[in-house]
């Protein structure tokens, strides 16, 4: 019920709306709950509304911690979970 997914904004539309894209599927969503969204941004979409923005840098950081796992597996623990 709370499921929401990140999708890229491909077009800003009238009435505080935008067209988002996810792997070739496009859909209109409302931007009424987010501010200063630009084309190219990733927003988090829930029941037809963007409810937040996805922060690419933070995503990259999280993925980086996963990448560290190989090292961690080797023995010593390098991984520090990020405290935002």
């Amino acid at each position: 019920m709370c499921l929401a997914i990140p999708a890229r904004v491909v077009e800003l539309l009238a009435d505080d709306r935008a067209r988002i894209e996810l792997s070739g599927v496009q859909k209109e969503v409302s931007l009424a709950l987010v501010e200063d969204v630009a084309v190219g941004d990733y927003v988090i979409v829930h029941v037809g509304f963007a409810i937040g923005r996805l922060d690419p840098e933070e995503a990259a950081l999280t993925l980086a911690t996963f990448a560290e796992l190989d090292a961690a597996m080797a023995g010593e623990r390098l991984l520090t979970p990020p405290l935002a």
Partner: protein
């Protein structure tokens, strides 16, 4: 006195006289159905079609499906060709070479004749392409508000070659499960048009008659255990039907199940699982393990099986559970669909 005013196929609409057994009905049948379906059986204008059978026919198969898809026209097809493909496929899934189709139309008063013609032409093309003529039919008209444009029930019959015995009860632990291609295209194409869901995608329905593919497969592996087209309820429904008929379990590997990115994305957006989404031009096959690779080769060399894959196998499990190894590395059940997924997809 030979002149008859032609049907107004541009602006005309179905009215109650088209279903009342008079000349208006006869004209509709003649000018639309008989004209486009175009074969001697229909031209005979009997209430049933009489035909010879290929010599030596010992077993036959009959299958029927009512089609109520909404909307009637969708990317990749319409209710017309769908109703031809759907039934041909059911005949083929029983191992039959489809021979003849019957079609029953339930028309709603007010339905535009131009749309009806589009549908009939599409059926005729589908039947011609599949080389399975529509040899008999029936037309009824219901008052406005008692139907939904047009419903089409098709019934097909076919002959089953000797030596073929498709029956999911024959599935045994160790048997391999194959699918003929990408799953979920039809369901997603329909959903993309639903008012409440509407989204844009290039996905088209996969509606197609796949008796040719099935025939190739049966010729190559006559020992095929079972074939089924994963329509309503999707792959999950077929696997559960197979497992419970066979009294064994099934394990599939998520990674091996072919799903297009766009279909996965549409499902993600709508909170659906592609395993439950309908197909109209795919099949699921079960064969002994030793035949699996050969069968896969045969499938892949047919245009309709290009993306075929071995997705799993039958296992010993008296509960008849269907399980899946997830891409993530865990294992979970793939149960029957519960409640409505989306109605009126076929």
């Amino acid at each position: 006195m030979s002149y008859t005013r032609p049907l107004d196929l541009k602006h005309g609409r179905v009215d109650l006289s088209h279903g009342s057994g008079g000349r208006a009905m006869a004209q509709l049948i003649h000018d639309l159905f008989v004209r486009h379906f175009d074969n001697d059986y229909l031209r005979a204008q009997n209430d049933g079609a009489c035909f010879p059978l290929p010599a030596g026919t010992g077993r036959m198969v009959m299958a029927t499906d009512s089609h109520v898809v909404s909307p009637l026209f969708f990317p990749g097809g319409d209710i017309g060709c769908l109703s031809v493909h759907g039934t041909i496929n059911d005949v083929a899934m029983a191992g039959g070479k489809p021979l003849y189709l019957a079609a029953g139309f339930i028309l709603e008063e007010g339905f535009p004749l131009a749309d009806l013609q589009r549908i009939v032409v599409s059926m005729a093309e589908a039947a011609r392409e599949a080389d399975v003529p529509i040899v008999t039919g029936d037309t009824k008209v219901v008052e406005q508000g008692k139907g939904d444009g047009v419903f089409i029930t098709t019934t097909g019959i076919g002959v089953v070659p000797d030596g073929i015995l498709l029956d999911p009860r024959r599935i045994q632990p160790g048997d391999r499960i194959l699918v003929s291609g990408y799953l979920g295209d039809h369901g997603v194409a329909i959903m993309s048009l639903r008012e409440n869901l509407s989204f844009d995608t290039a996905i088209k329905s996969d509606t197609a008659a796949i008796h040719g593919l099935a025939a190739d497969m049966l010729a190559a592996v006559p020992g095929l255990r079972a074939l089924r087209d994963p329509t309503r309820g999707g792959l999950a429904a077929v696997l559960n039907e197979f497992a419970s008929a066979a009294g064994c379990g099934i394990v599939i590997r998520e990674k091996a199940v072919p799903v297009r990115d766009e279909v996965a994305a549409a499902c993600e957006l709508l909170g659906l699982d592609p395993l439950y989404v309908a197909n109209e031009g795919k099949l699921v096959a079960v064969c002994p393990a030793e035949d699996a690779e050969h069968l896969l080769d045969v499938m892949r060399s047919h245009p309709q099986g290009r993306d075929a894959a071995i997705i799993g196998e039958a296992i010993v499990d008296p509960n008849g559970f269907v399980q899946m190894e997830t891409t993530f590395g865990g294992r979970r059940m793939v149960d029957w669909l519960t409640g409505e997924q989306l109605p009126r997809i076929c």
